[in-house]
Amino acid sequence: MTVNPSGWRPTAPTNASDCGPETVTGNRALQLEEPLLFEGGRLDQTGVDLPDAKHSPARLGGLERNRDIGLPGLSEPEAVRHYTRLSRQNYAIDLGLFPLGSCTMKHNPRLNEKVARMPGFADVHPLQPQETVQGALRVIDELASWLLDLSGMHSVAMSPKAGAHGELCGLLCIRSALEARGDPREVVLVPESAHGTNPATAAFAGYRVESIPANKAGRVDLDALRARLGPDVAAVMITNPNTCGLFEPEMIEISEAVHAAGAFVYCDGANFNAIVGRVRPGDLGIDAMHINLHKTFSTPHGGGGPGSGPVVLSKALAPFGPLPFVAKGADGTCKLVEEENSGEEHPNAFGRMTAFHGQMGMFTRALTYILSHGADGLRQVAEDAVLNANYVLRSLADVLDAPFASAGPCMHEAIFSDKGFAEGLGTIDLAKALIDEGFHPMTMYFPLVVHGAMLVEPTETESKAALDQFIAAMRSIAERAKAGDEGLKSAPVYAPRRRLDETLAARKPVLVYREPVQAKAAE
């Protein structure tokens, strides 16, 4: 069939800025601009039909609202369009490779979403009598049991709401254990390459933070660590695999040294995806580790949460874990251990970290994911994640500086530096050019121990074809960066927005919408 009998062919613009005339609307075909809700909505518009209330005198203690709130509404078609248009200005895993290092942006299976919405999980109240929520409690118990088997640890605290909340949980267990033995200590050691949450959490838990250096191979400097350990050190926070994408080969020696000094080992489990099913943290001497269900176990990131950060604990720390938690009786029924029964069941609990039982919606998704994979699938996850990262590393090591590539394989993420780029061009320029190629950039400028770091984590849910396309794009941009192609500075060209002025945003913060008159008055 001939589609175009006239033989007419479109002519392409010769350069990127020549993308055709300005449009009246500011839209460009499928690239649709969307005003703020406050510019389009009206106070008298609503997208929800509600019956009139039966009239009765209010019993509000004389505190009736007597001014407008200022909340515009939209009818349903307008609202659906507003959010759909906005959604199209986002990049997402559903659209393509999202190699954000240490973030484990893998595919989010839709079965998990379906299960999380089953009424028995989504429509139960956290304070329902326990005989009415046995299924929900069993989900928590089953997931806990998998996490223990996979980690080889002694117990698990399920309630922490995200990774950083899990870190806090682990450190509070450590602090409680030290205080219980009458040996309060003041310092937590954190490697320079750690996630920012590690030192922030240690400070939040009341500790002074000191950093420990990395050696040339990108690992914790064991001699420097040994030299610093002493009676004032409460814990060492290690990320393993670490933020350079490398396994700490001396992890067992590190743990032994820390334990010999009377301190505890906290492991940041953000990178558990690299080792799940192949290595159990319990075999490495770790005392506490949070597991980001929103990384390794694929609960969706949602643009910045919700996450979930259960913490696995060693035998030494288990007695101090937080309330509430689920305990399974001999007859198979589950019960919550809360403040009222913790006296008999768990007398040394350090307390409660959140109002209810944790992120149930994430537990159902993570358990669904785990059951789908099984022991064999999970091991394959780690192997494919590591293979994909090494494939990226070896495919780019001749065009990009890969500071640790000569020392051996990486784990689930590959790290590169901006060494060799032409004067004036840096990691950010490569990252922004990657946007124009249809990829989300890698993690940039982290960890700080590598100059202009680019941390690439492809995950196991990328096909070889997707990786090959990414590698081709990276190679091309890297060559341009080395050749001094100033065009990189103007990237991205094809994104919904060009580079944004972050300095202006911080200097004159505009954090809420103000109607033009109001905004003028505020100036």
């Binding site: 349903e76 028995g120 299924g135 922030a200 099913g277 990131h301 910045g304 090494n390 972050e502």
Partner: protein, 452 residues
């Protein structure tokens, strides 16, 4: 395995490309003693979608579903009807499967949503500004206490006895480690709140007074005198809102002088979800912006002068500031914030006010009918959609007995305050627009039976 695209051929080609003989070569850095030779023992193997759905479906069915029975529970989590379009919106893959908007050029969707969310929360709470969400109400509450400490450089906070006991518990847990002093107590079964007692307790060492509005028993108290008393001594007033729908009908805490208003956003858009994930709301006076925890979306322009949004003031945050950050929070609750803002956008001012009126009218009706049961009395004078009854019997067994009759009849104060005999007969009943006339009949009949 349906989620893993690599074929065995791909794997062997790729191993060859990286110069490895087998996958084990890539795990050489793992100490031998810690290498698992085979699968973790005793665990099942991968399963089909159908098999997993069956397993999870069976677990789901082993719960009493709120929407399938007469349901009257509140105390920090409320059941409202959520429009179908809200769930559709949060399941858009571009929202669901995106990350924290670190690359703003390709995250304007999330960033604009957060800017709109911040504006809605600030207006609802009567504050200047709000952040882009916290984990939940309880953790937002503790972060507010910490922030007040940073602002006032004082370490003693007074928690109202009307504050949700789990929130008190979270604060007490954290204060043990930070060294802050917290004063708290348990409520009494009375229409009077502890406002006067709070006012009397404020002194020059007080960093903040924390008051829930409406409180755990559903009572509503004028915050103005508490704010004035706090300000007179250089302390802040932190208001905690666990049922934001109430603010469609009653004055906002900000209007009454609260400096920081935090809350649980679950009741708008998010659903019950057995306690999580929820969404913490955090709003305050603009002058405290640099002491705020959490992410902030802000307006700016791009290289062509077009309006756009970015995460801003990140020098407060852990990834820049490390141990000097205002909080350790990183991932928060953005997808739940989207559900909240989408639902609130569908409601609009008009819908929210109507929803709030409907809730209040329904609650008034139920309160009168239940208080007419012999031996049962209504504790509250004022309330929004939740009130406390004093029963002639202990409420905790009464709740279980009502379950036997197929009714989720409320939260007993015995569950929340197990060590307080004085509260044992208290039953907190929440009534939203989801309650039907039949539900009320069934509850009334059940309570008559069990309150004998």
């Amino acid at each position: 395995m349906r989620y893993l695209p690599l074929s065995d051929t791909d794997r062997s080609q790729m191993l060859q490309a990286v110069g490895a003989k087998s996958i084990d070569d890539l795990f050489v850095d793992v100490p031998k003693a810690a290498r698992l030779d085979g699968l973790v023992r005793g665990l099942p193997l991968h399963a089909s979608e159908l098999a997993v759905e069956r397993h999870m479906g069976a677990l789901s069915k082993a719960n009493m579903v709120a929407g399938e029975v007469p349901f009257f529970l509140g105390c920090g989590a409320y059941r409202h009807h959520v429009p179908a379009s809200v769930d559709h919106i949060i399941q858009r893959g571009e929202f669901l499967t995106s990350y924290t908007p670190y690359q703003p050029e390709i995250a304007q969707g999330t960033l604009q949503v957060l800017f709109e969310f911040q504006t809605q929360v600030a207006r609802l709470f009567g504050c200047d500004i709000a952040n882009a969400s916290m984990y939940d109400g309880s953790t937002a509450c503790w972060e507010a206490v910490l922030m007040a400490g940073r602002i006032t450089r004082r370490e003693k906070a007074i928690l109202s006895s009307g504050l949700h006991p789990h929130y008190v518990s979270v604060c007490n847990t954290m204060a043990k480690f930070t060294g802050d002093t917290l004063q708290s107590g348990e409520p009494t079964l009375s229409a009077e709140t502890d406002a006067e007692h709070l006012i009397a307790g404020i002194d020059e060492q007080t960093s903040a007074v924390v008051v829930q509005y409406p409180d755990i028993l559903g009572r509503i108290t004028d915050l103005t005198p508490i704010a004035e008393a706090a300000h007179a001594k250089g302390a802040l007033l932190i208001a905690v809102v666990t049922e934001p729908v109430a603010l469609g009908l009653i004055k906002s805490p900000g209007e009454m002088g609260a400096d920081v208003v935090v809350g649980e956003g679950q009741s708008i858009g998010v659903g019950l979800q057995f306690g999580g994930p929820y969404v913490g709301l955090f709003a305050c006076n603009e002058k405290f912006v640099r002491q705020m925890p959490g992410r902030l979306a802000g307006e700016t322009v791009d290289a062509e002068g077009k309006r756009g949004f970015v995460l801003t003031l990140s020098t407060r945050e852990q990834h820049i500031r490390r141990e000097k950050a205002t909080s350790n929070i990183c991932t928060s609750s953005v997808l739940c914030a989207l559900a909240f803002t989408a639902h609130l956008t569908l409601l609009g001012e008009k819908g929210l006010r109507r929803l709030a009126s409907l809730n209040h009218a329904r609650a008034c009706e139920v309160a009168d009918r239940l208080a007419a049961i012999p031996g049962v009395s209504l504790v509250n004078d004022g309330f929004f959609n939740e009130f406390t009854l004093e029963l002639p019997v202990e409420a905790r067994p009464a709740v279980h007995a009502m379950v036997e009759k197929g009714v989720l009849g409320g939260v007993s104060l015995g569950r929340l305050y197990p060590d307080s005999p004085a509260l044992a007969n208290g039953l907190v009943v929440a009534v939203t627009e989801t309650v039907t006339d039949e539900d009320i009949d069934v509850l009334e009949a059940a309570l008559k039976e069990v309150a004998k």
